[in-house]
């Protein structure tokens, strides 16, 4: 147990940092840049039952302090992932969080059944919030009842703890979180991307072939912090926080808001070394504020309340 270690259902992490789903492929690309065993864990790209090609390109666009993506859940299909992608990750000996997507309840259930049975998978992350494919689960992600039903059914077949990944594109994130908690989720991942769009002002055409896409990056961090803050006070599930994290300071901010672990997405594109750099910096920051264990950061914001500004 080091001062950075955190423990969540199925995920015993030596530090709270893991790459976010879809921003790290299946790990092998970043493995060319650094030794993945330094990570607290890794979230792999969404798996669907059959392989999917995804949306036409362009699939990404840049926005102020953020980016839009409309990949469309491209992946080689769950069988392929289990057989060809997961084994390469085994040697790093870090928890693997398998992101699961589908168009129908049956698809989610079957993917979960298969992938949760892999001894290499530590937990599954139910992606009911992909905004980029019509049948990508976003309807499960914005309707409480469907989300709860799906969670229940997936829990029934899953051999590993189930994290439900919430969409921020909802009127009431707390009710959604409560619904999936009641349905038996073991944890929450939040947030997925905000639905956004960018047009070329010269032509009036959308930049993305899919027209709309998911907004990620520092631009959305305030929304993520707020949602984690609100949800963590109303549910007792551990939260894997994400959305715009790119520095060690962001990690501590997000944990203070209520996250138990933190996933880093878009920032990997800006700096492929961002995860190890954050991990290396964390102890320094803990020292600076006189905190021994990082796990104590979780939910600090709701445990105390002092007037700010006067701190200088």
């Amino acid at each position: 147990m080091s001062r950075l270690s955190v423990s969540l259902p199925g995920l015993n992490m030596k530090n709270p940092i893991l790459p976010a789903s879809g921003c790290f492929g299946f790990g092998k690309e970043y493995a060319k840049w650094y030794d993945l065993s330094v990570l607290g864990g890794v979230t792999i790209k969404a798996a669907t039952l059959e392989g999917r090609f995804g949306n036409p390109t362009p699939r990404v666009a840049e926005t102020e302090s953020g980016m839009l993506n409309a990949i469309g859940l491209q992946n080689p299909g769950v069988r392929n992932i289990i057989e060809n992608e997961l084994p390469a990750l085994e040697k790093y000996n870090i928890p693997i969080l398998a992101n699961i997507a589908g168009s129908t309840e049956e698809e989610y259930i079957e993917v979960t059944r298969q992938i949760s049975a892999s001894p290499l998978v530590s937990a599954v992350e139910l992606n009911i919030s992909c905004p980029n494919v019509k049948e990508g689960g976003i309807h499960f992600g914005t309707d409480y009842k469907s989300a709860a039903d799906l969670t229940r059914k997936v829990k029934d077949v899953s051999k590993k703890p189930v994290y439900v990944k919430l969409s921020p594109n909802v009127s009431n994130i707390v009710e959604m979180a409560q619904a999936v908690e009641e349905a038996g989720a073991d944890g929450l991942s939040m947030i997925n991307t905000l639905v956004g769009m960018k047009l070329d002002w010269r032509t009036g055409n959308p930049i993305l072939a899919n027209k709309t896409g998911g907004l990620s990056g520092p631009a959305i961090k305030p929304v993520a912090i707020r949602m984690i803050y609100e949800v963590s006070q109303k549910v007792s599930l551990p939260i894997i926080g994400m959305g715009g994290v790119s520095t060690a300071e962001d990690v501590l901010e997000m944990m203070s808001a209520g996250a138990s672990a933190v996933a880093v997405g878009t920032a990997n594109f800006v700096n492929p070394y961002v995860c190890p750099e954050i991990i290396e910096k964390l102890p320094e920051l803990l020292d600076e504020i006189g905190m021994e264990n990082i796990s104590e950061m979780t939910g600090r914001s709701t445990k105390q309340w002092k007037t700010p500004l006067s701190s200088r």
Partner: protein, 256 residues
């Protein structure tokens, strides 16, 4: 693969909105293959998150200096054009697979076809092919004479045919309009440019051997995010990633 902080040695406008940036640093040592690219961060602490893929245009290994040519067009490249000598630029690379130069037989000619900012990588490629003893012809397409650059430098390597859309330099028209005579002796074709141009080149080439370098908006630049895929009928997966499987592909391999 690595991230490098390279130092700007010069950064100047060489044609309308076209900049030539020279960068130096130990990282340059690994930049040996024409057709590879650098994934360039345009600013520190900036609101522009994504890196810009820019092709290696030339490398001087003695000076540890790499040359990039880019059009200052959108916000990011405009920001890049503001960089002064001695400032640092954060780059990933070299990334991707460059042009395969082993495949070409010594008695073959090479026809290098580039449009607009597809032109830069042909310079380093042309130099390499010439060094191998291959005779090189260039067809370079620009909008107009004000947009043209490096023409004399290309002429120093091999025969250079220029086309401009408005006819202000060389042949009026597109690169494909100049291909006719050049393909008669069945050269190996190397082409870089927007998809529409590559498609036209492929059609004109009518079955000749060749290589195309593709462009697409990128996220990671290293094969992890699936932003830059292109359909293919020749691979089981049904797609290639332009950043890591390409940007160079054999002609006919991908569906343009």
């Amino acid at each position: 693969m690595r991230k490098h902080l390279l130092k700007v040695t010069s950064n100047r406008e060489i044609a309308r909105n076209i900049y030539e940036m020279k960068l130096t640093g130990p990282g340059v040592g690994s930049m040996t293959t024409p057709g590879q690219f650098l994934h360039v961060s345009v600013g520190n602490q900036s609101s522009k998150l994504l890196r810009r893929p820019l092709s290696i245009c030339d490398v001087d290994h003695d000076q540890e200096e790499v040359t990039l040519l880019y059009r200052a067009q959108g916000e990011g490249t405009k920001q890049l054009s503001q960089k002064q000598a001695r400032e640092l630029v954060d780059v990933l690379g070299p990334l991707g697979n460059g042009f395969d130069m082993d495949a070409i037989a010594v008695n073959k000619r090479a026809l290098l076809i580039g449009g607009g900012i597809g032109v830069p990588p042909l310079y380093y490629l042309g130099k390499h092919l010439k060094k191998k003893g291959i005779e090189v012809t260039f067809i370079l397409g620009y909008q107009s004479v004000e947009d043209s650059f490096y023409v004399e430098k290309f002429q120093a390597i091999g025969e250079t045919i220029v086309t401009t859309v408005d006819g202000s330099l060389g042949i009026k028209g597109f690169v494909t309009d100049a291909m006719g005579a050049c393909v008669e002796d069945e050269p190996v074709i190397y082409s870089v440019g927007p998809a529409v141009m590559l498609k036209a080149v492929e059609d004109r080439a009518g079955g000749l051997d060749g290589y195309l370098s593709l462009e697409e908006r990128m996220g990671c630049g290293i094969g992890a995010c699936f932003a830059c895929v292109c359909p293919t009928e020749t691979r089981k997966s049904g797609y290639v990633k332009i950043c890591s499987d390409g940007p160079v592909f054999k002609m006919g391999e991908v569906v343009l």
